[in-house]
Each structure stands twice: as structure tokens, then as C-alpha cells.
Amino acid sequence: MEFSLTDPFLWETVIQGLLFGGVLALLSLGLNLIFGVIDVVWICYAELIMLGMYTIFFLYTHYGLPLPVSFAGGILMVAALGALLHQLVIRPILHTEPINQLLVTGGVLFFLQGLATMMFSVEFRNIGISFGSVEAGDMFFPVSRIIAFVVSLVAVACLWLFLKKTYLGTAIRAISQDRDVMPLMGVSPRKIYLVTSALGGGLAGLGACLLVMLYDIHPAIGLTFGPIVFMVCVLGGLGNMFGGFIAAFIFAEFIALGGFYAEVEWGYVLAFVFFIVMMFIRPQGLLGTRN
């Protein structure tokens, strides 16, 4: 194997990694938000995305709605699921041992997977849209990946602005620093948690919009990217959205370049090895402050 910086395939791979990193960054955003604010890990996060993908699929193919409307429906659906998950599952155990939250959201993962298998069968489905690809020099890039990348960056920027500039966003950041003082500000912590859960769900729904353009839908699809999303969050420092953003690109490049020099599976192996090594060096994550 030859190493050459003028190799267009190498550059294509690097840029592919970058595009994939953007999607990973978006996927990690909702999970990080929930953890950072509510201090709960939604183990079933990827399954919410899976349900969002099905929602979009059925709205688009069975009900014949335009794609943007189907996307909006998917986002709303997962936002509602996020709020429901919080209200029904998280809230009753919010003040118990953290292990309970892992177990119970882990349980929801299998429940949702089983539910999807029963309702939709294990058949692979696809919305059947091809956006084609663009050519730059000798390099080719699928348009769907470019769209996904741009949407991810825009979503990250919008979320940042929302958290930084609005009353609600400031309250969401504040509640993660001191929950008990919030009522004195006229803020109901319950309401903020519910809104945050819906927002986290909405971000998962947006992730579903992007993934539905890139991959087939099946009940176990959550397992194919759920662990990576989770590791992106941990590597960045759970709850630290900026850290997660950086970690997403690191992971994506590992996978892309590993796939370029060997096989795609080796990319994943390298990424996981890197993750494990990093966990020994910086257990709190790249930018994390917690232990």
C-alpha cells in the first residue's frame, strides 16, 4: 500500500469521514443534552431514532406526504416520544440510584426493538430516494451525505444559539448547575426537564431524517450506530456538547481511514481501540470534567 498525499482517493476518504463526522455529531447532540441537563443516559436513544425513521418512511411511502412534511412528522413524533419517555419512565426514578436509569432505559431499548419487529417485521425498508452524487476533480460524494453534513452543522449552530441567547436555553444550562435554586427564579424544574426531553427527542428525530436518506430501515438499526453515538458522547465527555462534537469527527475519521487502508470493519476496530486507550488516559473524556 502506498501513502501519497496527492492520492485523490485518500482525500475522498478524509472528506467522507468529515461528512460522516457531521452526522455523528448531530446524533450525539441529543444524548449529550439529556445527560448534561437531566443527568440521565438514554440507552434507548438510537431506538428513538429508529422509530423516527419508520415514521418518516410510512408518512412518505404509505401516506404519500411530501418529504419535508414527512421529515417534520418524524421530528415531532420523536420529540413526543422523548417527552413521553421522560414523563413515564425517567421521572419516577429520577432520584434513585443511577444504575436504575441505565437498566430502565436499557429495558426500553429492547421493548422498542421488539415492538418495531412486531409492528413492522424484520424486513429492510428504504424510502427509495436517490440524490445522486457530485464530482469534484476525481472525487465523488453522495449528495445525501453532503445534505446530512450541512444540516448537522446548522442544527449544532442553532442549538448553541438557542442555549446561549434565549431565556429557556439559559434555564436549561442553569438547571444542570443548580436544580434546587430554580424555583426561586420562577422556573419549574419539571417543565424544563420535559422541554429538554422533547428537545433531545427532536434532535434524535432530526437524526432520523438524515439517516433515512443514507441507510435502510430495520428494527435493529439502532444497534448499528447506537454504540458509536454513545462512545462519541463518552469520548467527548458525557454532557459536554462541544467535546462530543470534536469526538464525532475523530471517530468518523478513524472509521473512514481504517476502511481506506484495510476494510471498513478494521476502521471500527481501530476506533474502538482508540476509545479504550483514551478511556485509560482520560476517563472523564476529552473535554469532560466529571469522573
Binding site: 434555564a171 444550562r173 442553569a174 448547575q177 443548580d178 424555583p183 426561586l184 427564579m185 422556573v187
Partner: protein
């Protein structure tokens, strides 16, 4: 303005207040003094409904607070500056102040209130982009009081504003309280620094083990032999 009648409150099975009667009239500054563990903080916390009211009644301008949840108290014109200041350490000074104006009624007047607070505490304006957690204790107290003023309250509850501060800073904090009074706010302040606080308020209540032991004009309590012996150490 604020009236407590036979108020009992506590945490779980622990009762902190036993049949407390207390009144704050409009424009007044009133102190609640007493030793550590007397229930002073609980008194403010039950007014804010952060802890439940177990007996008696609390009324703000003749409206009972019994059924008002904690996060709606501020809408009635009561701002609570809690013990240990409780700023959001990783938010900037200005973001902390913004949180003080979270309630709907206050948002529309945010710019006006912010200008007012910066006018009152020019030092906070210089520090507006600094993270609150990186400031000194005195500065944090200033920011906490400013955050309390952001909602434009009628009544300001101050919980131990001088606690944990260096002696020089303590003096500044009491000067600050005096200025807040001059601005026309009604103030209910809880303090362990009895000698100092009695110099800036009109009236005071002495709280011991959850019961009001004594009350009267601040001057009288300051000259009362029992108070002087037990709490001022003279």
C-alpha cells in the same frame, strides 16, 4: 405586605418552625436574628414555598401563599436571594441576571431592569461576561442581590448575605443592604451578624429553636441585655 400567622414548617419528619407569627409592612426592613439552627433559613424557605407549609398561613398583600407552588412565588413580587448566594457558577454574570428576569412579567422590562442593576452595581457591569463562579465572595453576593432585583420585586428576602465573607467585605454587604432599602424595596433579612444587621433594619425578630422569642424595634433589641449577652457577646 407580608404576614405569617402561626406558621409551622419542616423537612420531612424534622420540624423547623413552630407557630411563627411575623409581619413585614411595606417599605420596612425587618431582620430575623438568632443562632445557627434556629430556623431562620427555613423561615425564608417556607415563604418561598421551597419547603412546604405544614400549618398556619402566609399572605402576601392579603393573598394566601398556601396553594402557590414555589416557582410562582416570584410572580407575586417576592424575590429570594438564597443562602450561599447560589449563583450559576458556569454562567456569566449577565446570564445569571437574565435568569433573575425569567418570569414573563419581568422579561418585557429586561433591558430596563438590567440597566438599573448595572447602575446600582457598576462593578457588575465591568464583570458582565465573567463566569459567576470565578468571582470573589463579595462580588458574588452583589451579583446574587442583583439577580434578585431583576424581577422588580416588592419584597426582597435576603438569607445571610454576610456569611462566609471577609470582615471588610461584610461591611460592604451591609452598606449594600442599606442602599437597597433607600431604593424603596421592602426587605426581610436573616442574619447571624446581629450587631451589624440591627443597624440597618427598622425592626427585628429573635428566633430560637423555631419559635419567635422576642420582637421589636431594632434599637431596642440592640440594647436588650439578653440579646447582647447571648448573641453579641458584650
Amino acid at each position: 405586605m407580608l404576614r405569617l400567622e402561626n406558621v409551622s414548617a419542616g423537612y420531612g419528619t424534622f420540624q423547623a418552625l413552630f407557630g411563627v407569627n411575623l409581619e413585614v409592612r411595606g417599605g420596612e426592613a425587618v431582620a430575623v436574628i438568632g443562632p445557627n439552627g434556629a430556623g431562620k433559613t427555613s423561615l425564608l424557605r417556607v415563604i418561598s414555598k421551597v419547603i412546604p407549609l405544614n400549618g398556619g398561613d402566609i399572605a402576601m398583600e392579603d393573598k394566601s401563599l398556601a396553594d402557590v407552588p414555589a416557582h410562582r412565588i416570584i410572580e407575586l413580587g417576592i424575590a429570594h436571594v438564597p443562602e450561599h448566594r447560589r449563583l450559576f457558577p458556569r454562567l456569566t454574570v449577565e446570564e445569571n441576571l437574565r435568569m433573575g428576569a425569567f418570569v414573563n412579567g419581568a422579561r418585557s422590562r429586561y433591558d430596563e431592569r438590567l440597566a438599573y442593576v448595572y447602575d446600582l452595581f457598576p462593578h457588575m457591569k465591568e464583570r458582565r461576561h465573567q463566569l459567576a463562579g470565578t468571582m470573589s465572595g463579595g462580588e458574588q453576593q452583589m451579583c446574587a442581590i442583583g439577580r434578585g432585583l431583576m424581577s422588580g420585586p416588592k419584597l426582597l428576602l435576603l438569607d445571610e448575605p454576610s456569611a462566609g465573607l471577609a470582615p471588610v467585605i461584610v461591611q460592604q454587604v451591609f452598606d449594600l443592604v442599606r442602599r437597597i432599602r433607600e431604593e424603596g424595596y421592602t426587605v426581610l433579612i436573616v442574619e447571624q451578624n446581629i450587631q451589624q444587621v440591627l443597624k440597618v433594619v427598622d425592626r427585628a425578630y429573635l428566633l430560637e429553636v423555631g419559635r419567635i422569642k422576642m420582637s421589636g424595634p431594632a434599637r431596642d433589641l440592640l440594647e436588650n441585655d439578653e440579646v447582647r449577652r447571648a448573641y453579641i457577646g458584650l
